[in-house]
């Protein structure tokens, strides 16, 4: 195979192999991710070059097939948890499994009691149930305090009644909810003894494990096509409504507070602030994702800028052939592209630091030290906002840096942009998050 960029590679003044380790974070992380990346790339079962020409239904079904194939390969190869998560990462196709592993399982781990975890985690870990994270509602988005879904305790039957009192209380957007998930962690206002105790999490079965039909009182479906040809259209983002659906009392996630058989609301001695740890966890992943998405776009634009030639003073290449100037040699191209390359590295390192911050924060919270929580909360909110906005803008810039060809689906850039840009609004709209940061700064 001829390497058209060999000349460029020969000019490097540093050890690329060592830089790969810096980028990966450690030699171990590099070795594992590299092995799994190659495994995925060489397996025709993970082919994705036809995504842009598939219809919505075909795309969705293809994602289902791949998710099942991923599970099969994980078991066949007896992959560790770390290797499995790299495998899902490199398959690079949004499917229900992304939410199941990324939010449903962590929500159980973070909010359920030991006893509840013993019951639900084996089912989730073996994918005998498939879960999603149903917080956002049609009318209120990420404003958690505005959620309208209710969970009213019925002392007579020892059950909670989950109900959607209005159209705007319909759960809206959870990935995997529309057609796949059998269970959901549903966030609802807890009402017991006539008193509203605010939003709490409940584990609710929404589809039969026998025939996959929605259970009585449950209305569930897909919210429709989203921006871009592929991207988020491979996943079934769903709506969900409840008409007085009953669940056993012990399906309230009771790590930090519980309702007794007598309907009494009791707070446990586990600090409530631990729940904020989950938010910090999710946001540090989003920051890491921002560096990955931006680096992919930068990689495409940089390589193509070295391939593409345009105008410029006539000169000869290494074979004495008259050629135009490589686009990458134009200062205007450099001034747009190189800061994005630098940003990709910057976001990578700040993401690495956030990972450390999360571990440090959890240790402090477990020791009942809440002193750093407001600062950590503001800092992760701000960095999520800053990096996702910059990465989304950066991907768009990269596609323009590739000229007209960047607009082709085969450039990979339109789909990358469509898949990444929602990060600017999920887990907190970026501008709202910046206002939270500024409130913290003013207080400081």
């Amino acid at each position: 195979i001829m390497d058209h960029l060999a000349h460029e590679r020969s000019k490097a003044q540093f050890s690329v192999e060592e830089m790969k380790i810096i980028w990966a974070g450690s030699l171990h992380a590099f070795q594992v991710s590299d092995r799994i990346a190659r495994l995925v790339a060489s397996d025709p079962g993970f082919r994705k070059d036809n995504r842009a020409v598939l219809s919505r239904k075909e795309l969705f079904k293809s994602a289902l097939r791949k998710a099942a194939y991923v599970w099969k390969r994980i078991n066949e190869l007896a992959l560790s948890e770390e290797e499995a998560s790299w495998l899902r990462f490199y398959v690079d196709e949004l499917a229900y499994a992304y939410i199941h592993w990324g939010m449903f399982v962590p929500a159980i781990k973070g909010s359920a009691t030991e006893e509840q975890q013993q019951k639900w985690l084996p089912l989730a870990n073996n994918m005998q149930i498939i879960g999603t994270y149903a917080q956002t509602e049609l009318g209120h988005g990420s404003n958690v305090r505005g959620l309208e879904t209710t969970a009213t305790f019925d002392q007579e039957t020892d059950e909670f009644i989950i109900h959607s009192p209005t159209l705007t209380s319909s759960k809206w957007w959870p990935g995997g909810l529309g057609k796949v998930a059998t269970h959901a962690v549903v966030y609802a206002r807890l009402i017991t003894d006539g008193q509203d105790y605010g939003v709490h999490g409940f584990l609710v079965q929404i589809r039969s494990l026998d025939d996959h039909f929605p259970l009585p009182g449950v209305t569930v479906g897909d919210i429709g096509m989203k921006f871009g040809s592929g991207a988020f259209n491979s996943i079934d983002n769903g709506f969900l409504r409840f008409n007085h659906v009953r669940i056993p009392r012990n399906q309230m996630l009771m790590k930090v507070s519980r309702v007794t058989r007598q309907g009494k609301y009791v707070e446990s001695n586990v600090p409530k602030q631990l729940l904020y740890g989950a938010m910090v966890y999710v946001r540090q992943i989003i920051v890491a994702d921002a560096s990955i998405a931006l680096s992919r776009a930068v990689c495409i634009a940089t390589r193509y800028s070295a391939v593409r030639r345009q105008f410029g003073p006539p000169h000869e290449d290494e074979n004495g052939k008259g050629v135009e100037t490589q686009v990458i040699d134009y200062k205007t191209q450099q001034s747009r592209l190189f800061p994005l390359l630098a940003s990709a590295y910057a976001f990578r390192f700040v993401g690495e630091w956030l990972k450390w911050l999360y571990t440090d924060l959890i240790q402090k919270l477990e020791a009942n030290d809440f002193s750093t929580l407001p600062e950590a909360h503001a800092c992760t909110a701000g960095l999520k906002s800053l990096t996702t906005s910059a990465a989304a803008d950066g991907i768009k810039e990269c596609w323009k840096l590739c000229g007209g060809h960047g607009y082709l689906s085969s450039s990979g850039l339109p789909e990358l942009y469509a898949a990444f840009v929602p990060a600017c609004t999920y887990e907190g709209d970026n501008i709202v998050l910046l206002l939270q940061v500024s409130r913290f700064l003013m207080k400081t």
Binding site: L5, A342, A346, L441
Partner: protein, 216 residues
């Protein structure tokens, strides 16, 4: 900002605010373009800009009847103050990374160049903030732009290797333009043939809609 007067020490990423008195008054020491390569100079410029924007917001907030009204009216300024604070975090973490033990031939030098480009480009993009807060002077802004341009030249020969270091397979990248081997044009042509519109030489709809027009 309001708590700084009480003597309570800011922590973590706000620790720089403890030096408010210095940061409000300090003058950037850059005299020539090379001075912009000094990490402490860069850091102080970002800290000065961040705290001056925050203090300005805090002062303006006191002019409103209620904090709520102030927050609402000043929200665009508050967002800018928050952005400045967050950019400072990223800049400081990049600089911290460079202070760690980094192995490999030439690796640290490349990261230093990237760090300089990241910081100087932010200064260039947010010149309004840096100048209006007096964190740097117009002459220093011009020197920053000179240094940024020179960093681009320094980086140029390494950029392909720097993106290779991401270690993305062609499968993961999913891009004809970004192929590792750079063999772009033949592959773009090959991809074009795979489009469903090219399944037939004469398109569906020709007989219904095109032929009647041509025959009229």
């Amino acid at each position: 900002i309001s708590q700084l007067q009480t003597g309570k020490k800011p922590i973590g990423t706000t620790a720089y605010m403890a030096h408010v008195e210095h940061l409000i008054q300090c003058r950037c020491t850059v005299q020539k373009a090379e001075d912009w390569l000094n990490p402490s100079v860069i850091l102080e410029a970002f800290e000065a800009r961040a705290i001056r924007l925050s203090v300005a917001c805090a002062e303006n907030l006191t002019k409103f009847a209620t904090p709520l009204q102030g927050f609402s009216e000043l929200s665009p300024d508050l967002v800018e103050a928050a952005v400045a604070h967050c950019q400072l975090i990223v800049v400081s973490k990049f600089i911290e990374k460079l202070q760690q033990n980094i192995e490999g031939n030439g690796v640290k030098q490349q990261l230093e160049t990237l760090c300089n480009i990241y910081c100087l480009n932010l200064i260039h993009k947010h010149l309004g903030d840096f100048l209006s807060t007096g964190s740097i002077s117009p002459k220093q802004a011009s020197l920053a732009s000179d240094q940024l341009r020179s960093r681009y030249s320094k980086l140029r020969s390494n950029v392909i290797a720097l993106v290779d270091a991401f270690n993305y397979t062609d499968h993961f990248l999913g891009s004809v333009l970004g192929r590792y081997d750079g063999n772009v044009y033949p592959k773009l042509y090959e991809e074009a043939w795979k489009d469903p519109l090219n399944d037939s030489i004469v398109p569906d709809g020709y007989h219904e809609y095109i032929q009647p027009l041509l025959k009229q």
